[in-house]
């Protein structure tokens, strides 16, 4: 096992863990930047992996790290990526629990955090528009995009069901409309 590669894997996931605020899809722009540019996975593969991570038990960031780590460097890679993505949270929370319980009332932290929250809004919007436009290639795909957006926004249907519904539509189209592109 290549130690330098494992170190790079660890550092990459440590960075992703350190700069992911809000969790879930908010980490997608960062993963794309770090993982796609290194050639570890394509954008489509990352979407697939995040869909899987969202549909099975566990935290999405950890699931995604384990899946990609496993693909890059087997079982050891999965463990290294998982420890990498978890470590920043553990260190920050331990520091807060030990030294600084009034953390959330600190004025400077609140100000910096207001900036970060606004940045996350801009980041996820850019990612959402790009991913939607890439997938806007057929009437059926457009219907799935708008339908799943509306279901998630206006009903309490769990995201995992929405992903399963997309999978079902994908299968039905394949089965009954084999020439549909």
């Amino acid at each position: 096992m290549n130690f330098r590669f494992l170190l790079e894997l660890f550092v990459t996931w440590f960075k992703l863990g350190l700069f992911t605020f809000g969790g879930g899809f908010a980490m997608l722009p960062l993963i794309e930047k770090e993982v796609v540019e290194k050639g570890w996975a394509t954008r489509d593969e990352i979407l697939d992996i995040m869909a899987i991570s969202q549909s099975v038990p566990g935290a999405i960031a950890i699931n995604t790290a384990i899946y990609l780590g496993k693909r890059m460097a087997g079982f050891v890679g999965a463990i290294v990526a998982a420890i990498g993505v978890i470590s920043p949270s553990v260190l920050v929370i331990l520091a807060i629990a030990v030294y600084f319980v009034q953390f959330q009332e600190n004025l400077y932290i609140m100000k910096a955090f207001s900036g970060i929250r606004a940045a996350i809004a801009g980041l996820i919007t850019a990612t959402a528009i790009r991913v939607a436009s890439v997938n806007f290639h057929s009437k059926i795909a457009m219907t799935i995009i708008i339908g799943s957006l509306a279901l998630n926004l206006f009903t309490s249907v769990h995201a995992a069901w929405i992903i399963l519904l997309g999978a079902f539509v994908g299968y039905v189209v394949y089965h009954y409309l084999p020439n549909y592109k």
Partner: protein
């Protein structure tokens, strides 16, 4: 044995919550109430802290509860426990998916999943915009937009969409700008 109880409880949290994030909170709260590891006020504190610190909410909460109830060893144990189900499930799943990823049915299924995820990301963006750029009155009705936050969000959007700036640098810069203008 508090270590064993912590481990089992957070293993359950990792195993029985799908979708991560705040979906995990009801189960975490249930386990905390059953064992009285931390007070209700501490639980409310950790939710505020988890939101403002990096990383998955599940990990933040597990680390905090583990430390408060059983020190550093407790925090490491609770965090390992919450991640362990993911490791088992994802490794099994990865094996299956790698074996069948070229199968036409698998490709068809993912051709339906990708637009569904695109829609979910769109919904996440709308949800985050609503909760960060607008002053929400009492959690229900929308208030006026916070112009400073809107400006940061627009600048970030342009920087990453048109100039391909590294998201991590953008987050750091926004924290600094936030310190100055808020």
């Amino acid at each position: 044995m508090i270590y064993w109880e912590l481990f089992i409880s957070f293993f359950k949290v990792g195993l029985f919550t799908i979708g991560g994030g705040y979906a995990m909170l009801p189960l975490i709260q249930q386990e905390i109430e059953a064992y009285q590891w931390i007070t209700t006020q501490e639980f409310i504190d950790i939710l505020a802290i988890a939101e403002m610190t990096p990383g998955p909410v599940a990990v933040n909460t597990a680390t905090f509860v583990g430390y408060k109830s059983a020190g550093v060893l407790g925090s490491l144990l609770a965090t390992t426990a919450v991640a362990l189900p993911s490791l088992i499930i994802i490794l099994l799943l990865a094996r299956f998916l790698e074996k069948y990823q070229e199968h036409p049915i698998m490709k068809a299924v993912f051709s339906g999943i990708r637009p569904a995820v695109a829609g979910l990301i769109g919904a996440a963006a709308i949800f985050i915009i609503r909760n960060t750029l607008f002053v929400v009155n009492g959690g229900t009705s929308l208030g006026l937009p916070d112009l400073r936050a809107v400006l940061i969000a627009i600048a970030v959007f342009i920087a990453v969409r048109y100039y391909k700036v590294d998201p991590i640098k953008v987050i750091i810069a926004s924290a600094v700008v936030g310190l100055i203008i808020f």
